[in-house]
């Protein structure tokens, strides 16, 4: 049973428009959430994170929103650029003595068209 789900395997957006990537989770113990970006033939790279004590975190064109009651987070990219085309993974963790184990979603492939 996947604890972190990205229900949209792909998303296509026009350059300059907003990209919204969604992620749902089932484990209410998750208290830290991250988004990673992955280009082909490269490892994932950290993009942005949010703690459960917040409902929004912003970094330039990237904003992550967290709705704890709905167990849902989303990543907004505004404006979208062709270089944003990549696979995006959301991940979640529980801050416990087991270390920072991340549980990943299945990923969403974003395609930004010029």
């Amino acid at each position: 049973d996947q604890q972190v789900k990205q229900n949209s395997p792909s998303l296509s957006v026009q350059e300059g428009r907003i990209s919204i990537l969604n992620c749902d989770y089932t484990n209410s113990m998750f208290d830290y959430f991250l988004w990673y970006k992955k280009y082909p033939a490269e490892g994932p790279t950290f993009l942005i994170s949010i703690s459960s004590i917040k409902d929004k975190n912003e970094d330039g064109r990237f904003t992550v929103f967290l709705n704890k009651s709905a167990k849902h987070l989303s990543l907004h990219i505004v404006p979208s650029q062709p270089g944003d085309s990549a696979v995006y993974f959301c991940a979640a963790s529980v801050n416990n003595n087991a270390g920072n184990m991340l549980t990943f979603g299945g990923g969403t492939r974003l395609m930004v068209k010029p």
Binding site: Q6, F46, A91, N95, N100
Partner: protein, 113 residues
């Protein structure tokens, strides 16, 4: 500034053979991780290590063995490769326990025939 490296980048092997994937990091990070990436599953944790000589199982450890005799190296061994182990393998590291960013290597694409 090498960061975290993996070798080989590509490997083709046959069922039943032993294969070792290497991971090396230059940051002296305490934590290291091995993930596999499969379509529809995202990244799944195989094994992790909190420090040299300390390792523990992740979500999908069966068929894999790890060791960590030095802080900077974390090899992953498939003792008897199976076709279901065809995947892309990523190594990652992080500074400390807690909600720390993990830094990933470039990955090894393994094909088991």
């Amino acid at each position: 500034d090498a960061g975290i490296t993996q070798s080989p980048r590509y490997k083709i092997t046959e069922t039943g053979r032993q294969v070792t994937l290497m991971c090396h990091q230059t940051w002296s990070h305490s934590y290291m991780f091995w993930y596999r990436q499969d379509l529809g599953h995202g990244l799944r944790l195989i094994y992790y290590s909190a420090a040299a000589d300390i390792t523990d199982k992740g979500e999908v450890p069966d068929g894999y063995v790890v060791s960590r005799s030095k802080t900077e190296n974390f090899p992953l061994t498939l003792e008897s490769a199976t076709r279901s182990q065809t995947s892309v393998y990523f190594c990652a590291s992080s500074v400390r326990r807690g909600q720390d960013t993990q830094y990933f290597g470039p990955g090894t694409r393994l094909t088991v025939l």
